[in-house]
């Protein structure tokens, strides 16, 4: 009898490292259909999306700016996912960090930047941790599914932000639903003159670097990875599973909180509900596409920023909708997840 059968068979390492490349390729094939139906040439569109932004200095700077929050949320999600904790709540944790950053930012008028900015970052990290604490405790002690709790807390956070901005924090000067502007000393310095690339980029790269070291070179990292790969085995080996997972969830929340501070201190200088363009959710794509590695997360964040920036010019030049970038990102996530799954199995024709 002939038929299809799916077998478990892990691919060799070199195939696995090519998965992101395959995923991107297949995604662009799929997206071509949409581009054609929008009345544009796919090749031209891909040129505008992927190449054109790299040829202009200002666009290159934009990419770095746009990648900054994605690196942070990508690193945050990676840390949690590696420990087998599926933190879908980076978006809410980002806003928790943004609230803390905006609040501390208005209080530091008398401090120099060298004190004000670290204080904001610390506050944002702690706020992100605090927002991640409840679902982490529920998961570790009561086995409540963290996917559900972290996801739903994102909506709760949006309402808190909305309450703050329409209530106590409404800008007294303009009356807009945005918080008062933070002190000058809390505003992040610009790294590249005449661009909006700010200190947040260094914070993001440093977070990725530190977390790479923690995961690869410390006992905590080794044990966390062991838990993520075989929880039962880790338990057998005497690894304190609960405390390690709890810690990973909190660090993840803290780093997502840094992304919020970075957007407040580096771009907007106030809290608003449009502060994040779903950076927390995009962090999941970044982490997945980066194959849960730190260098991978940084590269994936840069790549997604490139597409976002490219979509702006593509829509200007070719008239394709700017939402093309969102479609590409979503397709990319689905394709890379499918590849990751297929990579663990093999389809065989049975006779």
């Amino acid at each position: 009898m002939a038929g299809l059968r799916i077998e478990r068979a892990p691919s060799p390492v070199w195939v696995r490292s090519l998965i992101p490349v395959f995923s991107i390729f297949v995604t662009f094939l799929l997206v071509s259909v949409l581009i054609i139906s929008a009345g544009a040439s796919p090749l031209q569109a891909f040129y505008e999306l992927l190449i054109a932004p790299l040829t202009k200095t200002s666009a290159r700077a934009d990419i770095l700016m746009m990648a900054t929050p994605l690196i942070l949320t990508g690193v945050a999600v990676t840390v949690a996912f590696l420990g087998g904790y599926f933190n879908i709540g980076a978006e809410g944790q980002l806003f928790a960090g943004a609230i803390a950053g905006a609040w501390i930012g208005t209080l530091v008028t008398d401090l120099p930047s060298t004190a004000a900015i670290p204080l904001m970052l610390l506050g944002g990290f702690l706020a992100g941790m605090a927002w991640a604490l409840l679902p982490a405790l529920l998961k570790v002690y009561l086995s409540v599914d963290e996917v559900v709790t972290t996801l739903l807390l994102n909506s709760v956070m949006l309402f808190i932000v909305s309450y703050l901005l329409n209530g106590p924090w409404r800008d007294p000067v303009s009356g807009w639903p945005q918080s008062p502007t933070i002190a000058l000393s809390g505003q992040f310095p610009v790294l590249i003159p005449r661009s909006r690339v700010h200190l947040g980029l260094l914070v993001a790269l440093a977070s990725a670097g530190v977390m790479w070291w923690v995961l690869a070179r410390t006992r905590f990292g080794l044990e966390l990875r062991a838990i993520g790969k075989n929880r039962e085995g880790a338990q057998f080996l005497g690894i304190p599973v609960r405390s390690r997972v709890l810690m990973a969830a909190l660090i993840s929340g803290g780093i997502a909180g840094l992304a919020g501070v970075s957007e407040v201190g580096g771009i907007h200088y106030y809290l608003s509900s449009t502060l994040s363009n779903s950076f927390g959710y995009t962090g999941i794509i970044v982490a997945t596409l980066g194959a849960l590695t730190m260098p991978g997360a940084v590269l994936a964040a840069l790549f997604l920023a490139l597409i976002n920036r490219g979509a702006l010019s593509a829509s200007r030049e070719l008239g394709v909708p700017v939402y093309l970038a969102d479609v590409i990102q979503a397709t990319l996530l689905l394709v890379s997840l499918s590849f990751l799954l297929l990579n663990r199995y093999r389809i065989r024709i049975r006779r």
Partner: protein, 496 residues
């Protein structure tokens, strides 16, 4: 003409032959026991009959006609039913809905008719069962009866029951047997897979005994005796009595287990007051049919389960129950039943070798990568592991994975070794290596508790043999006076 006949059925899984030219026949209106130790091939044979596996050789006849089952659907269509140990009921459906599921007979449901049909079927078997009850709220025994009703609804004429009493409380066992006898009166054939001798005699008319995938006997139940069946089941073996027993028992007790009790999630007692002692320089083997508390005993001793009562002492000190982390420091080495739960397959050999004892390889939380690598290279050499430190464990053979576990546990000069099924699934070379390492630890003076389903292995290595039955030690003997027939009887609850 038999209701079902299997002729020369062979089923292989890779290098393992689970069924080897098996002939098996069940008459109409007969309760037929399929007896054998775990791994004898009983379940495999019945899965072939039910179409879950395709045989590599041999044929199946139903009512004298040759059939080829490609899936259970084919087997069901030929009137074969299978009640597995794991019930397939929808907990939130009623009994009637569960029974009728897949046989609604049209797009529109007729709940009243469904209930009536189920009632009639239940009454014909003297089953007291409420068709409106939710399946999830029923007791295990009742759920099993619903499974039987499901099979009947599919016009089953040969019912296979896979270890039906394993999940039942004693009072439910008698009720089940009554149902089976009623089925028999209606002309149905029943095959009951079991490794319990008392059940064979309680309910069956004929018995087929499997050992190592082959039929070793087919007898009318009334023409045989428990001891004869026990002997068929475990086989006669010649003992390799070439063993140094000089320093046996001269060393003090290093592992002591007192009155251990442990209940499973359903509340059934898996360990019922188990006690044992192991001296230094001694291997104590625990023989028994799987499912009599071995796994639970291993879980307690390897720190993954906490007993409800009782105590364990290692060299006189209370054992850190439920704290696997504390065990290596107390010189307790663990070789668990499921080796894939003791390694992280997606991590490297080097990492796996140190995960249990990271204290020695970290300074202020920072890993000594160089140290870890050197340790791995040393262990790979000492334990002849065919791998390099950076290889992922998942790419290694079972024997090499077991060597990693041996290196990790025995490399620390243990005082107590808990070895559970240490050679399961290994080839001859790797098996000999493991045996050699265990004997080496014994010579060093370690106390070794060997839990194995492989009786030959127990006889070969142990200085003393304990037989476990239903969560207790049912008997003890020194290796010198080991008597296979007596062990077999004790294992199956037939001896005393």
């Amino acid at each position: 003409m038999p209701a079902v006949e299997m002729r020369g059925v062979t089923k292989r899984f890779g290098p393992l032959t689970a069924n080897d030219g098996v002939n098996f026949a069940v008459e109409r209106g007969e309760i037929h026991a399929l007896l054998g130790e775990n791994g004898a091939g009983k379940s495999t044979l019945m899965k072939v009959l039910y179409g879950l596996y395709q045989p590599d050789d041999g044929e199946i006849l139903v009512d004298g006609r040759a059939v080829g089952f490609r899936s259970p659907a084919d087997a069901i269509a030929s009137g074969i039913g299978f009640v597995s140990q794991h019930f397939a009921l929808v907990p939130r459906f009623t009994v009637a809905e569960n029974v009728m599921l897949g046989h609604e007979g049209g797009a529109r449901l007729n709940p009243r008719q469904m209930r009536a049909q189920v009632m009639i079927a239940a009454e014909s078997l003297n089953m007291a069962i409420d068709p409106n009850a939710l399946a999830g709220k029923l007791s295990v025994g009742e759920q099993q009866r619903v499974e039987i009703l499901k099979a009947l609804k599919r016009n089953c004429r040969v019912l296979i029951m896979d270890e039906p009493t394993a999940v039942l409380a004693p009072q439910d066992v008698e009720a089940l047997f009554a149902v089976l006898r009623d089925l028999q009166k209606q002309g149905m054939s029943v095959i009951i897979i079991t490794h319990k001798l008392n059940e064979v005699f309680a309910v069956s008319q004929r018995v087929t005994v499997l050992r190592l995938g082959k039929v070793v006997g087919e007898i009318a139940t009334e023409a045989t005796s428990p001891s004869a069946l026990a002997e068929l089941m475990v086989g006669r073996q010649t003992l390799a009595v070439e063993r140094n027993t000089d320093h046996q028992r001269q060393e003090p007790v290093k592992l002591e287990v007192r009155d251990l009790k442990l209940a499973d999630k359903r509340g059934g007692l898996r360990l019922r007051g188990l006690s044992l002692e192991v001296h230094g320089g001694e291997i104590v083997g625990i023989a028994g049919v799987a499912g009599n508390g071995q796994s639970e005993l291993v879980s307690v001793l390897t720190g993954t389960a906490v007993p409800d009562s009782g105590e364990v002492l290692a060299h006189g000190q209370p054992y850190p129950l439920g704290q696997p982390k504390a065990l290596p420091n107390l010189k307790i080495a663990r070789i668990p039943e499921d080796r894939l739960k003791a390694v992280i397959s997606d991590m490297s050999v080097a990492d796996n070798l140190v995960l249990e004892s990271l204290d020695g390889f970290t300074r202020l939380g920072h890993l000594g990568r160089q140290q870890i690598r050197e340790h791995a290279e040393r262990m790979i050499k000492d334990f002849q592991i065919k791998a390099s430190p950076g290889d992922l464990v998942r790419t290694l053979s079972g024997g090499n994975i077991q060597k990693i576990i041996l290196a990790r546990s025995l490399g620390q000069q243990p005082e107590v070794v808990i070895a559970a099924q240490p050679t399961r699934g290994l080839d001859i070379g790797a098996t000999e290596y493991v045996h050699h390492k265990l004997l080496e630890q014994k010579e060093r003076g370690a106390a070794i508790l060997l839990i194995s389903e492989d009786l030959e292995e127990i006889l070969q290595l142990s200085d003393r043999i304990l037989v476990i039955f239903e969560g207790r030690i049912a008997g003890e003997m020194s290796a010198a006076n080991a008597d296979v027939q007596r062990i077999g009887a004790l294992m199956t609850g037939a001896g005393g």
